[in-house]
């Protein structure tokens, strides 16, 4: 069944997106091209989720952490929505952000205060479950904490149940709450139910999960219900308020994230997408109802198409056929020609396959490019805020609805479009520059918004501008950086100072008024009978405060009666008006420039509409390119196309029309401000326009514009002198310059005498070249005009056929009458006479007569004109006036200059008009902007708003806080030995005894050394845990090779611990993991330790193990010391095998002769001696203990001498001395090898 084609209106909107707490911030960011991508907020810091080297196989790290995060913007006042603060933490924050934004969108539509049928209002929200804070928190409470306790118990078997319970309670106390009150906040659909509940809405309310297309599918459902009259209004939204590490890791494993950390859809540098957070809501209702109810309509929804990919390449791979189907269904649903769309807000994720598929789908819809210039802008807001997944469709929808409402084509961030996409073969251009959306087409402005989701769900929405019969507001506000004029009048200086001080006080209160409201209130309060006037142009509170402070400082001087500050602060107590007169000036051709009025056309819709009009006329005449394309060339066009457009800008066919559109726009602004000029004056072609404005030609705007186009077209065909050139001459001595020109009057003509420092001369060929050289030598500056038409010289005779024909037709097209406002002729330097025939003659002849602007200005000054307001582009005429009247009392003000943003220039001009006594209604600047009057301090009317008690929402992952362990006593590795070194880490490994070992130190008197011993005290040692506590990185790698042999692993670990404890005694340190034991080729261990000044010091070491005991000795490298060795054996070890295999017969005889029945114990110690010596020389026993021969010993002194086989060691020149003994249940020996051996 075909859906009813009822159009749907978007009547309210609001949002929170990265970098934008409100919809006005969002729009301001879009206009300024703000890249809101950043690193995760500080609350993520404890999370080790980021590893730039993460691969698709890494399932716990992401290689990209950048994205669009909104946490810094999120503040919520639960009481505003009747929510108990206690239920906030632990719930999914999305619920409350959705509520907050929905409420603001409703307020934006005006229905927070108006009645509507709540029983037929729905809440439909696009929302996907990609993991939420609340559910993660619930998982922690229900499972993760128990796992942590299990691990803790394993690591600390001696902890009592009560200790573990304390830890568990402590961890849970630091998590977000998980209570019955938070349960609703963990259920996705309650997000919409909560809004319906709050606002008592009884239409179907639910959430929709269609991945990245969720918002637009939600919109589709709302539109369908509206069209079928099941509901009357809907709150539609998209919510993805919380990117979690798990989501990032998921996209990291898919390789979809941008390694560059930038998201640049359709760009040559695009390397993936970036995830972001956001909430957007729109209020929609049937267009017919919205119009009837007088709602503000941002845009109209004309059609929606949705599709699934069906059987594509994969669930995560976009399918061209699926996207194309959604597009075609949208346009078929409403019968709109896709070629009439001026802006496509693409899904544009910046993934290679996604971008390529989307361009193919759009080019299939639009067909190939048939014109030289592209006609349709392409963009994606993801380039600024990232990919908000289920909310992304709403981000695009809000942006596009505002683009249609404000008539602006917003930019997309892109340095260089991807040439592989072939965009230049389509009617599209990637719009990288924000420009006014000028449209003269027969159809309203239209735009398409796409959203394509994982799993193959596609949606496309067609929006259209709402053209109202009501007058547009004078200006649009962006919400950020809007310039306001703060105007104050007072009867005296003191009164003015008092008002300034009051304003300062008001601005410094906790709840200062909005800048717009304040500017409006001040504008409404000014009195034109008060002579002291101050005006401050400012875009924010700080600038206004600065302006007030500057003013107060300057006014402290008794002599201060006026000032004009270049920052936009103006004071005047001796205004030029009402005694003086005000003239409006209109420039002619030559005032145009590339991108003229770009900012002005975006801020002042009525000015922009003048450009719409000339586009319309060109379209109707089939002329291309359109004036708007000449003025604002589409980005990305070829160099030759750009050069051609630049030429056209200076052509007769386009130049004057563009200048006139600007003049007409500015004149409409002047009229809106209720400013009444005393006279008009035009310069060159501006004279015709001035006469039309003065009512001399009784033609409407459309007829006049058509006529002008025809005139210009025919001018081009006029047989004028081709070799003529125009030269701007300035500077130098005016008398000398004039004398020179007059000296060659036969070949040079003065076309325009603009002011003392500028005349325009016209000449043919070589004459102009020579003049340029000669005048330069006189100190003049000569530059060529960018066109060669010899206006205002005899070379442009009215007798030329084209011009003559034009004036003949002029008489037929228009009825002429005397001007309704006095108009000065810059040809005669007089007012136009009160004789229609004479006026006609003057208008005809002006093209061959020089412009005498300097004389005209002089004449006007003599006639009492003191304020000259230029209502046209560039501001050249003000320069002429300034130069001409230099030194006299007057004011020349422009509404446009090339070097200043238009709205700022306009504000500064309005401010100066005001302080100079020009009657101007500044409140009109606030028409349609929902301004509220601000009560001034002391008026007794100020009512403090209810103080908000906002709270932060818990975003991100719950964190296990180690503070839970604070009451667990620290556990030393050697907790039974007071002398044991500290672990330095506060670690909790039980069952290891560590001790300082003094005996060998005492014996090795010749060596400064320390020794330590450690032993296992319990049956099982957790090697992994011990390794984590004591090993450095490379040691851990080595440790991992013992994984198949836990007992060897623990023996090795104990040895390392003993060695580190030994060296730490020397260093008086407690470090373990930072002390890495290195190994010589021979296997002998050593340390290299930094002294803190960049030098490394070597420490020798030797390690011995037996059973669960390890011993080690360490000594700093010292002169003559070649090595140290230690060995230990269990005292009860059997020695029979040792005696047989390890000792020569001569050694055994020596032992027997000396030891008798104690021989076994002696053998054990002497074995240790052999081992210790072998380690000290760095060879080890090499499987041949007999090569280390005991040649003598003193058992009672614990001393032995060892001869080493010369084939084994170069140190075997003399016997090596070693010491031996028993310590507890151990036999041990230590040896040191010195150079002297």
């Amino acid at each position: 069944m075909k859906s009813p084609s009822t159009d749907i209106a978007i009547i309210g909107m609001d949002c929170i997106f990265p970098g934008a707490a409100t919809v006005s911030d969002y729009w301001a960011n879009i206009l300024s091209g703000f890249d809101a991508i950043g690193d995760p907020p500080p609350s993520w810091d404890p999370l080790p989720f980021y590893d730039p080297g993460a691969t698709p196989e890494t399932n716990d790290r992401t290689y990209c952490k950048r994205g669009g995060y909104i946490e810094p913007l999120v503040q919520f006042d639960p009481m505003e929505f009747g929510i108990m603060p206690g239920s906030i933490d632990g719930s999914d924050p999305e619920h409350f952000l959705a509520m907050q934004v929905a409420a603001r969108a409703l307020a934006d539509s005006g229905y927070d205060k108006r009645d509507f049928d709540r029983s037929k209002t729905s809440v439909i929200i696009g929302y996907g479950k990609l993991g939420t804070t609340g559910m993660a928190n619930a998982a922690y409470h229900t499972a993760v904490v128990d796992e942590i306790i299990k691990v803790t118990k394993f690591l600390r078997p001696n902890l009592k149940s009560a200790d573990l319970e304390t830890i568990k309670t402590g961890i849970k106390a630091r998590l977000f709450p998980f209570t019955a009150e938070t349960c609703p906040g963990l259920t996705g659909n309650i997000m919409s139910g909560r809004i319906a509940n709050r606002f008592n809405l009884q239409g179907p309310s639910f959430t929709v999960d269609a991945a990245c297309a969720s918002s637009l599918i939600a919109l589709d459902m709302a539109v369908t219900n509206l069209r079928m009259n099941k509901i009357d209004m809907a709150i539609v939204g998209g919510v993805h308020a919380n990117v979690l590490p798990g989501t990032l890791v998921m996209f990291s494993m898919l390789g979809a994230l941008a390694r560059s950390g930038k998201i640049r859809p359709f760009s040559a540098e695009a390397d993936g997408t970036l995830l972001s957070e956001g909430v957007g809501m729109a209020i929609v209702k049937r267009l017919e109802d919205a119009r009837k109810d007088g709602d503000r309509i941002y845009a109209t929804i004309r059609g929606i198409g949705a599709s699934s990919d069906g059987r594509g390449q994969g669930l995560l791979t976009p399918r061209l056929e699926g996207e194309a189907l959604a597009l075609s269904r949208a346009y078929e649903s409403c019968g709109i020609d896709p070629a009439s769309v001026g802006l496509f807000e693409a899904h544009g994720t910046a993934t290679k396959v996604g971008d390529a598929t989307e361009i193919l789908a759009l080019s299939g819809l639009l067909g190939p490019r048939k014109t030289e210039l592209p006609a349709c802008a392409l963009g994606s807001v993801k380039s600024m805020i990232g990919h908000t997944i289920p909310a992304s469709g709403m981000a695009g929808l809000i942006k596009t609805a505002l683009a249609l409402h404000k008539k602006i084509l917003p930019a997309t961030l892109c340095e260089q479009p991807n040439p592989e996409l072939g965009i230049e073969k389509t009617p599209l251009y990637l719009n990288t520059k924000t420009i006014p959306w000028i449209s003269g087409g027969k159809t309203p402005r239209r735009a398409g918004v796409s959203a394509f989701g994982f799993g193959g769900i596609n949606a496309h929405v067609i929006l259209e501008e709402e053209i109202t019969s009501e007058a547009n507001p004078i200006r649009h506000i962006t919400g950020s950086g809007d310039i306001e004029v703060f105007a104050i009048s007072a009867g005296s200086k003191n009164e003015l100072i008092d008002t300034c001080n009051s304003l300062l006080g008001l601005l410094r209160t906790a709840n200062p008024p909005g800048m717009g409201d304040l500017a409006f209130s001040l504008a409404a309060s000014v009195r034109f009978d008060e002579l002291w006037r101050l005006a401050i142009c400012a875009s924010d509170k700080d600038r206004l405060l600065a302006g007030l402070t500057t003013s107060l400082t300057k006014m402290q001087s008794p002599s201060c009666v006026s000032f004009s500050d270049r920052s936009g602060v103006y004071l005047q107590s001796r205004p030029l008006m009402p005694d003086g007169k005000l003239a409006l000036m209109f420039p002619g051709e030559g005032a145009q420039y590339a991108e003229m009025l770009r900012a002005t056309n975006m801020a002042f819709p009525k000015i922009r509409s003048s450009f719409d009009e000339i586009d319309r006329i060109y379209l109707e005449h089939g002329k291309t390119p359109l004036p708007s394309q000449v003025l604002y060339p589409p980005p990305g066009i070829s160099k030759s196309s750009a050069e051609e457009l630049q030429k056209l800008l200076w052509s007769n066919e386009y130049g004057l029309m563009l200048v006139q559109a600007a003049c007409e726009g500015f004149f409409s602004l002047v009229q809106d401000l209720e400013l009444a000029p005393d006279a008009l004056v035009g310069h060159s072609g501006g004279q015709n326009f001035a006469m039309w404005l003065a009512g001399c030609f009784t033609a409407d705007r459309d007829t006049f514009n058509r006529h002008l186009l025809r005139l210009n077209t025919e001018f081009i065909q006029a047989p004028v002198e081709e070799n003529a050139r125009l030269l701007v001459v300035g500077g130098g001595d005016p008398d000398e310059v004039m004398a020179y020109i007059k000296s060659i009057a036969d070949s040079l003509f003065i076309a325009m005498d603009n002011c003392p420092n500028q005349i325009i001369i016209c000449g043919i060929g070589a004459a102009i070249e020579r003049a340029m050289e000669d005048l330069g030598a006189l100190g003049a500056i000569c530059s060529a005009m960018p066109f060669q038409r010899p206006y205002h010289t005899p070379l442009y005779s009215w007798k030329s056929p084209a011009v003559g024909e034009y004036f003949n037709q002029l008489a037929e097209l228009f009825t002429m009458q005397l001007p309704q406002i006095p108009v000065y002729s810059s040809s005669s330097a007089e007012l136009y006479p009160s004789d229609l025939d004479e006026i006609k003659r003057m208008l005809e002849e002006q093209w061959e007569k020089p412009v005498r602007f300097r004389e005209t200005v002089e004449k006007m000054y003599d006639d009492g004109f003191r304020i000259f307001l230029e209502a046209g582009p560039r501001g050249n005429l003000c320069g002429f006036v300034n130069d001409t009247l230099s030194g006299r009392e007057f004011l020349a003000l422009e509404l446009d200059v090339m070097t200043q943003p238009g709205p700022l220039r306009i504000a500064q001009t309005i401010a100066q008009l005001f302080v100079n006594g020009v009657k101007i209604n500044m409140t009109r600047l606030h028409d349609g902007l929902d301004r509220r009057r601000v009560s001034m301090p002391g008026s007794g009317e100020t009512q403090a708003p209810r103080a908000k008690r906002t709270m932060s929402l818990k975003m991100g992952m719950p964190i296990i806080d180690t503070v839970a362990f604070k009451n667990v006593p620290p556990l030393h590795l050697a907790d039974s030995d007071r002398h044991a070194p500290e672990t330095g880490s506060g670690a909790v490994i039980s069952g290891i005894r560590r001790a300082v070992w003094n005996a060998p130190v005492r014996l090795l008197k010749s060596v400064s050394c320390c020794a330590a011993v450690c032993s296992a005290q319990t049956g099982t040692t957790n090697g992994e845990a011990l390794a984590a506590l004591i090993l450095g990185v490379s040691e851990k790698v080595k440790f991992s090779t013992f994984s198949s042999n836990p007992s060897r692993a623990n023996e090795w670990l104990f040895g390392r611990l003993a060695a580190k404890d030994a060296v730490n005694q020397l260093l008086k340190s407690s470090s373990l993991t930072s002390l890495e034991i290195l190994t010589e080729k021979s296997g002998r261990p050593y340390f290299m330790i930094s002294d803190g000044n960049g030098a490394q010091r070597r420490f020798l070491s030797s390690i011995a193990h037996c059973g669960k005991v390890a011993a080690a000795i360490a000594a700093p490298e010292q002169a003559g010391l070649l090595g140290i060795g230690v060995d230990v054996e269990l005292r009860d070890r059997s020695t029979t095998d040792l005696e047989e295999s390890g000792f020569k017969e001569t050694e055994r005889a020596l032992i027997r002769s000396f030891a008798g029945k104690e021989a076994g114990q002696l053998v054990l110690k002497l074995w240790c001696v052999k081992e210790a010596v072998a380690k000290a020389v760095g060879t080890g026993l090499l499987g041949n203990p007999r090569a280390f021969e005991i040649v003598s010993f003193d058992a009672s002194a614990g001393l032995a001498y060892v001869n080493i086989d010369q084939t084994l060691s170069a140190h075997a020149k003399r016997p090596v001395q070693a010491y031996m003994g028993f310590e507890g249940n151990l036999a041990y020996a230590v040896a040191a090898v010195h150079e002297r051996f």
């Binding site: 030269l727 530059s783 320069g879 002429f880 200059v897 090339m898």
Partner: protein, 102 residues
């Protein structure tokens, strides 16, 4: 009009430039040598338009009392079009060179 008499150093040229700028800039009373940096541009930073350039050149020429300085070479491009903008540093260099040629 403020006056100074010598043009011996770059700083003195800068002072002449500043005073000439004050002649043509409305509300330019707060200009001082410190606010004029080498990179300060007459158009983009000080708001001069093409005619202001010419007026400024005339004023500067008069202040320097050195006769015509052929500012055309500075302000006009080879194709005859007017230069988009000029920096204080370039201007000061041009004046110094032009004065040395005198």
């Amino acid at each position: 009009m403020e006056k100074i008499d010598s043009i011996d150093t770059y700083d003195e040229i800068l002072t002449h430039i500043r005073l000439a700028l004050k002649d043509v800039i409305r509300g330019g009373a707060d200009l001082d040598n410190g606010s004029l940096k080498t990179g300060t541009r007459l158009g983009a930073d000080l708001g001069l338009k093409s005619l202001d350039f010419v007026r400024f050149a005339g004023s500067l020429q008069r202040r320097l009392k050195a006769g015509p300085l052929r500012f055309q070479q500075l302000f006009v491009n080879a194709d005859g079009s007017f230069s988009e903008d000029i920096s204080i540093g370039r201007l000061r260099e041009f004046c110094k060179e032009a004065l040395l040629k005198r």
